[in-house]
Symmetry: C2
DNA sequence: ATACATTGAACAAACGTTTGACTTATGATT
DNA sequence: AATCATAAGTCAAACGTTTGTTCAATGTAT
């Protein structure tokens, strides 16, 4: 009776629904067109609210964008594996190379499903990855709360798989893995066109299998799990 | 006496130098801030010319952007290996796996040096790669003249190295290689910071060696050339 | 009655574009 | 050789829109 999500909003959360709508519509628009490519009027119209409503709730355009980033930060752990989990699985795997391969598969599989599948967070990943090439006023917040924790988890995986190597090798290899996932996101239009696919989610198993195989090879693991 | 490039411009090429300056300054600015993030006034000021000069030479903002894209297209072959060259080298390599590795090294090395080294074209690669995630009115021109020819060359390499496999595997593996190079470009700020480097060009040999190794692994080649 | 939410109207600033006058090499005419 | 008409290039100023933001008025549940 109290708070039905979609409609109603009977009692106290009258404006809370508007906030949520603006964050959702805004993140999709900003991800697709870029921060400067979206005007407040376009955004308000797409969300079905008045122009002034955005400024009322978020204080302005930068405020809405920051609210979107902050919301993404709160769900980071649902998208990206945590360093402790990676460490635990690696310790359980020990020196068994097949078990190590399984840890890699788990890691990559989670990224593929959360970032390339039709999860709630596909636009979020798109938006965040753009900040790398075109930093905004939220960049430092993202470095602290998204990029660095995710990178740490990835480094734990890489150094656990490839063993002793140089710091440079670990860092760059970790970024190779990020590269593959984010590129599939950014270039999904032309990739789907070249494969004759319509969208990734319909072929997620094939996509997952191929990416997993290539990242295994990249890490020096056996590419087939025979 | 006739046409000294930098200064003078005594005779007929009075405006030709301005055009070149605007294309160079424009490509750097568009690459860094995005099309919508650069105003005509900012651009004109950065180039040291009057605001109206841009419209005079290129007809407007979209005209300048298109001129930049067209100039990039003319130098594509200096950046990206051509499909015929890849095919020729692969045929010369035959079934020797070490020779195949050398072809891969040549391919990747060229990309690393042209796109990540301080070549003339580093900003061009940055600008073009953004079109994948955020297509402009020049997108189809880029697909025809840059993306498709480059992708074809890459597919020749991939299918020549990994042998018979599915079409999906070839396409996605080719994109994995593109992914690594373009990501190093897009994320160069945070990568350099994490490595304690200042800029890629100062460490190009290390960068080249590590990327080469990882892409060899990704393709199922031996990672060390022992 | 009160506090929160939404609305249409207006604001100054910045946007891309256009205009007309001024400057300057070039090529034909004297 | 000196002169002049022409065309190309540059510039300051203004054009009409669109931008993000603000404000006073209205609506609405508690």
């Amino acid at each position: 009776m109290s708070g039905t999500k979609e409609e109603g909003a009977g009692r106290k959360a009258r404006g809370e629904e508007t906030r949520a709508t603006l964050i959702e519509v805004g993140s999709r628009l900003f991800a697709k067109k870029g921060y400067d490519g979206v005007s407040m009027r376009t955004l308000a119209a797409a969300a079905g609210v008045n122009l002034a409503t955005v400024s009322y709730h978020f204080g302005g355009k930068p405020g809405l964008y920051q609210a979107i980033i902050e919301q993404i930060i709160t769900v980071r752990d649902e998208i990206f594996p945590r360093a402790e989990d990676v460490r635990a699985r690696l310790e359980a795997a020990g020196d068994d190379i097949r078990a190590k391969g399984a840890v890699t598969d788990w890691f990559v599989g989670k990224l593929v499903h959360e970032m390339l599948g039709h999860s709630e967070y596909d636009w979020a990943a798109f938006l965040v990855s753009r900040e790398l090439a075109q930093p905004s006023h939220c960049y430092h917040m993202l470095v602290e709360n998204i990029f660095n924790p995710s990178f740490t988890a990835l480094c734990v995986l890489v150094s656990g798989i490839v063993g002793d190597t140089t710091h440079e090798d670990t860092v760059l290899t970790a970024h190779c893995i990020i590269a593959v996932i984010t590129h599939m996101l950014e270039a999904h239009i032309i990739i789907n066109q070249r494969l004759g696919w319509k969208e990734f989610p319909e072929h997620l198993d094939r996509l997952d299998a191929i990416i997993r195989k290539r990242i295994r090879g990249l890490l020096g693991l056996p590419m087939e799990d025979a």
